[in-house]
């Protein structure tokens, strides 16, 4: 059994961490926050230069052809430094749905640019209102928000219903074209911009292999990558809290010597350890395209969401008043934890999916999720 990342994958981790450190680590997110920017274009170019966005894109399609485990390693490092880059929108979501449902022409048309970081894609799959997006055979009409990087993306894959299909299927839309209106919206984490996307007669083409299961299938895969980002963030929040507890003195002692604080930190460690176990299994399931992927992916995302939220909030608690200042980075992790917990829809969806696909269920279920 080798239930861990390989030597090469650990070297990749070090290389990514070094690159992120070179670009200011968490300061990169801070710059986007203070300047109201969209993302760190310099960092994104440097990452692209290393072939990171294309890690899980085949060499035939312009990627580096490494694999999903490598992408998970990268995701964890991005989460650890809160990297302000369009990875979720352009790679986890857009590249993945094109890989899953695109024709070979569509793959050749878009994947090389995504891998190279020269084009940014996104996926719009749900309205906050559950609002409809409709395809009439030629154009799309409807509105979705929030759409990750919706204001800067060059194109989007929009899940829409049509007359002959009332479950959403993926359609490709050029966001530079006519009939597209988009506006940036304020969100809980300004270091990851989102937009409202309104399509009013925007020309669209279906992804050739798209079907009724494409969305659920896509979200399972993204959930695994996201879980690693969340674990990176959670572990960083735990480290920040631990370091502060070893530095801050109160009542004549380091606060990390008080059991109330020690036990808080121990519980943070436990939540990260459990999330990591779940995420490792999901990474394996994704890499092997195992039948167990729906359960594994849902478990990884639910577990990582809890761990990141738990660690990010207790990190502020350990920092006390200091942790509630704008200048300290604690709130950046707190904000990102909320964003990532909701980025793929309601936790209830994932909880239901996890239970629906539990391997030790004995009775047939009525509710299909």
């Amino acid at each position: 059994m080798d239930f861990d990342f390989s030597e090469e994958q650990m070297q990749l981790r070090q290389a990514v961490r070094k690159l992120l450190g070179h670009h200011g680590d968490v300061q990169a997110a801070r710059r986007v926050l203070e300047c109201g920017g969209d993302y760190d274009a310099q960092l994104w170019r440097a990452m692209s230069g290393m072939g990171l966005p294309g890690a899980a894109i085949a060499a035939d399609h312009g990627g580096s052809g490494l694999g999903y485990l490598e992408l998970c390693v990268i995701a964890e490092e991005l989460g650890r430094s809160l990297a302000p880059v369009p990875m979720l929108s352009s790679i986890y979501l857009a590249a993945e749905i094109i890989k899953l449902a695109g024709s070979s022409t569509q793959k050749m048309a878009w994947l090389p640019a995504l891998a190279a970081g020269t084009k940014i894609g996104t996926v719009a799959f749900a309205g906050a209102s559950g609002a409809a997006m409709h395809f009439d055979g030629r154009v799309l009409r409807g509105a979705y928000f929030p759409v990750a990087d919706g204001a800067i993306a060059d194109f989007a894959i929009v899940f829409a219903r049509s007359a002959d299909c009332n479950r959403p299927r993926p359609f490709l839309v050029d966001l530079q074209g006519a009939g597209v209106r988009r506006a940036r919206i304020e969100t809980i984490d300004p270091t990851r911009p989102h937009a409202r996307l309104e399509l009013d007669g925007a020309a669209a083409e279906p992804l050739a292999q798209g079907n009724d299961d494409s969305l659920a299938c896509l979200l399972d895969r993204v959930a695994v990558m996201l879980a690693f980002e969340q674990i990176g963030g959670a572990e960083r929040a735990l480290t920040m809290a631990r370091d502060y507890a070893l530095e801050r003195v109160a009542f004549g002692r380091k606060i990390g010597s008080f059991q109330a604080v020690k036990h808080l930190l121990a519980d943070m460690f436990v939540s990260v350890a459990l999330a990591r176990g779940n995420a490792f299994y999901a990474a394996w399931a994704l890499d092997r395209d195992a039948a167990d992927l729906p359960c594994a992916a849902a478990g990884a995302h639910v577990s990582a969401s809890k761990a990141f939220r738990h660690c990010a909030s207790n990190n502020i608690q350990v920092h006390g008043g200091t942790g509630f200042t704008w200048e300290f980075d604690c709130h950046l992790f707190y904000r990102r934890a909320q964003l990532l917990a909701l980025a793929l829809g309601q936790p209830a969806y994932w909880e239901a999916r996890l239970l629906r696909h539990l391997p030790n269920r004995t009775a047939p279920s009525v509710a299909a999720v």
Partner: protein
Amino acid sequence: MNFDDTPEEAAFRKQARQWLDANAPWPLEAALREGGLSSPGLTDAFAAAKAWQKKKAEAGWACLNWPREYGGRGSTPMERVIWSQEEGPFAALSWLFTIGHGMCGPTMIAYASEQQKRRYLPALASGEEIWCQLFSEPAAGSDLAGLRTRAQRHGDDWIVNGQKVWTSGAHLSQFGIILVRTDPSVPKHQGLTMFFLDMRSPGIVIKPIRQANGRSEFNEVFLSDVRIPDAQRLGAPGQGWQVSLTTLMNERLSIGSGMATGFEPLIDYCCSARGPHGALIDDPALRSRLADWAIRSLGLKYTAMRAISALSRGATPGPENSIGKLVAGSMQQEIASFVLDLQGESGIVTDPAQAPADGRFQAMLLRAPATRVEGGTDEILRNIIAERVLGLPADIRVDKDVPFNALDSPA
């Protein structure tokens, strides 16, 4: 990242499986899978345990990681894990020997004389003799080093007086290892010494403890002028604390078996019991809590796999493996309480013949408080994680450097 055995591991697994296919007590399998040792299908758990252990020992499948000359197999830690995976439900039959094999044996291997090892270990491995561990005392639980049972030297013997408590299987045991205070004039950790003793020695009185759940798994052991030959000392006088750490480290090394969390019975119950939305597992009102336990239970399982994977690479499992019992203990309690709530008025019925789900959740609820205490309380485990994994300062210990007999309330 893969779950495949190395070629050596695969060969070992095949060998283990072949032997089990031909030799395991298959007629007991269904009963053991159903309810473990408390299964009504298992009429004489003691005899079944003794017979299975003897059979394993004769074929070289007992205490795998012990040297061959002491009744073991000289296996690697990974082979031991593979064996326990393959032994499956039959591992429950090892209950009688858990303490002896997991803690007493390794301590004897480390500290007993060659002659003693050859005399005692094979009989311990084969289950012919049962061993217990006399550590905890009424006034020394989490603070084990504060124990008060005294041993004083008389010629070639030591005379022991005091009381031990929470001793599993004392009434079934022929031998035990015991930690006692031999020097009260030095700070508490420095005045302890470890021995092994014959549990039939004059002066030993064993009384079962009636537990809060009405059962009796543990004993009180009273020692009055019990003589232990100096030759049965394990380690130097005053070295008992270090010797006990060897014992306790071995407890932590027994990974891969996996603590029961209560999650599997919970899912079985929620798949079969019905509510307004069909099976309870599909009830949206319960979803969030069920999912929370699912990720903790699965998370533990995969964490254990990561530890096994580290073993396979030759690494030693560290204190991070303390999380197993910490997570499982409170889960059992939460899950049992949750199911009782679902059962409503009938949740108070404990008679297995009439209670829902044979009363297993009532039994679980009544047993769960012990899981959160035995073998390290939740609080001690959090301290271990905080101090040895996260590197936070140790608790302030006001009694650490004070001679034991100068403390406020010594024996």
